[in-house]
Amino acid sequence: MNNYKLSRRGFLASGVALGALGLAAGRPTPVFAQQDSVLRLRLDGDNKILDPGYMIGGTEVEAQKQCLPFLAQYTRDGDTFGWEPTYYVTKLEQRTPTEIDFELTEGLVWSNGYGPLKASDVKYSYERMKGTDWGGYFDALDHVEVTGDRTGTIVLNKPFAPFFMVTLCHGPGAILCEKAVEDAGGKFTTSFPAVCGPYTYDSVPGQNATFTLNPEWTGPKPAYDKVVLNVISEVKAAELAFEAGEIDCTELGSDTLARYATQQPEGSEITTAGELQYMWMGMNTEHPKLQNKTVRQAIQHAIDVDSILAGAFSGTSAKSHGIVCPGLIGHRDANKSYSYDPAKAQQLMAESGESGLTLSLRTLNTQERMLTAQIIQANLAVIGITVEILPLDSGPFWEMGMESAGDTWKDLQLWTMRFAGTPDPYEAAQWFVSSQVGIWNWERWTDPEYDRLYDEGLAETDPAKRDEIYIRMQDIMEETGAYVWINHEPEVYIHDADIEISAAPSGELDYRRFKPA
């Protein structure tokens, strides 16, 4: 055997040899399309906690929907959202305003040898949720009565109309296997201790999550044998991956949606999941510069929302007329007390007796928000109001109206804000009751009628009456002069035209309900 010793001379000679080498070009291998029974989607980040009690939300909910039982699921009829029982139940019925009876389907079993799905699992799952991070969704739950192996009654502590849509259909409504979770120590993170659904779940951190057919599943077989979700954090990268044919469906950003309006990729289709986001410009009714309601009303009339929608959102979002989103009970399709009218705005400013007004407008420093702020700045200049735009990172932005986080709330004047929620008007309305002043009611108004209607809306089960209640609540908000409604941004997906996708109103995809078009 020869002894090899690396000398300086030898190293340099090797370097020279390396430098003298030419470029050996490799021949690329074509990328072939996936099998028909494989669905390829995007995951915007690793699923961190699959446990419904401690999840972050979003894609974790998507995973739960494939692997865990739910009593109810969303339906969509045109632009209107509703709910229906899932195939996990043969009965789901509101017997009284506070009692919901259920009967689980026979023959459904948990994986890993944990036996049949039982009513006691429902009791365990829902009562457990009350002490978790998502316990707010179960405030109305008193307890679950188990009346048989597969039957029981959900007992509420007060009538709570949104319980089906907000709690049972959404991620917190997932049912866990009591024994499996207890065996896992009472909580779990990145893998399910037991599944009872059409798919099993596996993941490679940073790379993908894979759903494969659950051999123990006795329910309806999903259309796709395997669903592979590639971790793609950036929506732009996902859009390019779709155009490259590597994924079958992805969410779209507003600018790309606008581009696709003129040039959509061949063989693709666009589906709007829902528009559960509501954006507005708020005014602090307690600030000395904005205490005069006539000034606030002048501002309402001065802002051209149509220009904002065209300039900042490329015409891809719906004009807003309140906090209740399209497709929900209580949605308004027109303003009651103001419209874009610069002449009226100037008249109101003159009536107010104010002149030379300078206001600050705080906004998140994202592209759409900054453009929105600039258009508002230009609009208000027309009526003699000078606006100083203060762009902020999310940290200081999200606490600027909270009394517990310092004194910024005292100097808060104008700001743009966007909230999102679940498909029931109560969730949007809850942030503006009197008790939220200094927390999320940054406009800082109180109204006894609004507070009363909020409680009535929770208890009312008649959709027509609920519609009246929430419309009146938004009338009250608008009449304070503290709001300029801007838009409802949609959750939009582009997908292969030969696939019919299924998405919750808030945008979570339900792969087991995807099917060939």
Binding site: L12, L23, P205, N230, S233, F397
Partner: protein, 314 residues
């Protein structure tokens, strides 16, 4: 050489300590409540309390720093805020992807850039020299994220020759290599220019030295003079350039990993910043910094070994 090694090691440790202190300070300076930033504005009080306790945010700042310093010194990079996985394990899963990407990018850049630089230096002013000059400056000037996007648009979206996202099937080397082509091309392209310019300049300088004239005077062939003598000396600054440029390679890799959705240290840092998962951000930045310092140290030691005059310079 031993004394030089010890001095350089000491300096490297001091730099890592300084970076860790600065990192802690910068994270303290981020405006806003860290719990609100991490968990979002509507987190439940229980989640807020749990997060604050886990991150020691309920302790005074000096105590937080002491805990942070102790953990870093003992190699404990903490745990992921959301699922309690050790940060070191998460980084361990990702760092290989980044090293492979950087290694491949630098590999092809060396294979192309060095011969180009040599050829340009042998005949300065020739058409080859001019073309090499234009190409070099051109590739240096274009940011790697733009190269990534163009490469993706051309080779994945339009031609569909190469995959756009991911790192390939685990265990399938050919598939993984295919997934590596575009990111490595994007990260390495500017280095072709850097290396060609550096080798050309060094070669021209060396070719003017008296010992090269002497070699020619002794009747050695031009090939022997260029490859046997000049290139051996001219390669030394190139090693320094590669070492010092490693930080830039990591930055380029971050963009490439995000655009091509490749798992790696850069994408991990990006995703963790987006999720406000600060223990992972801290751990990954410290590891990336240490990696950079290690590579610079290695390059310095290599130069010192190759050129004994350098050892006395520190």
């Amino acid at each position: 050489m031993i004394a030089y090694l010890l001095k350089r090691l000491g300096l490297s440790v001091a730099v890592i300590c300084a970076v860790a202190i600065m990192l802690f300070g910068l994270l303290q300076l981020i405006p806003g409540d860290p719990v609100t930033i991490a968990l979002g504005p509507r987190a439940s009080p229980e989640a807020v309390q749990r997060y604050a306790e886990k991150m020691h945010l309920d302790e005074p700042v000096w105590m937080q720093f002491a805990i942070f310093a102790r953990n870093v010194a003992t190699g404990d990079l903490g745990v992921d805020v959301f699922n309690d996985r050790p940060v070191a394990a998460i980084i361990g899963e990702r760092i290989g992807f980044t090293l492979v990407l950087i290694g491949t990018a630098m590999g092809w850049a060396v294979l192309l850039g060095m011969p180009l630089g040599c050829l340009a230096a042998i005949r300065p002013g020739s058409w080859l020299d001019r073309i090499t000059g234009v190409l070099s400056v051109g590739t240096i000037a274009v940011p790697s994220f733009l190269v990534s996007i163009w490469a993706l648009l051309i080779f994945s979206v339009n031609l569909r020759w190469l995959p756009a996202i991911g790192s390939g099937e685990p265990g399938d080397i050919a598939d993984q290599a295919t997934h590596l082509i575009l990111p490595a091309f994007a990260v390495g392209l500017s280095w072709v220019g850097y290396l060609a310019r550096m080798v050309r300049a060094s070669m021209l300088e060396v070719m003017g030295e008296t010992y090269i004239r002497s070699a020619r005077a002794f009747g050695l062939t031009e090939r022997k003079v260029v490859y046997g003598y000049a290139l051996r000396v001219a390669i030394l600054p190139t090693i320094t350039l590669i070492g010092m440029g490693f930080g830039g390679l990591i930055s380029a890799a971050v963009f490439a990993e995000i655009i091509f959705a490749r798992p790696g240290l850069g994408k991990l840092i990006f995703d963790s910043v987006m999720a406000r998962n600060f223990p992972v951000v801290q751990g990954a930045v410290i590891v990336a910094t240490s990696l950079y310092i290690f590579v610079v140290l290695f390059a310095d030691l290599l130069i010192a070994w190759l050129d004994p005059r350098v050892r006395d310079a520190l």
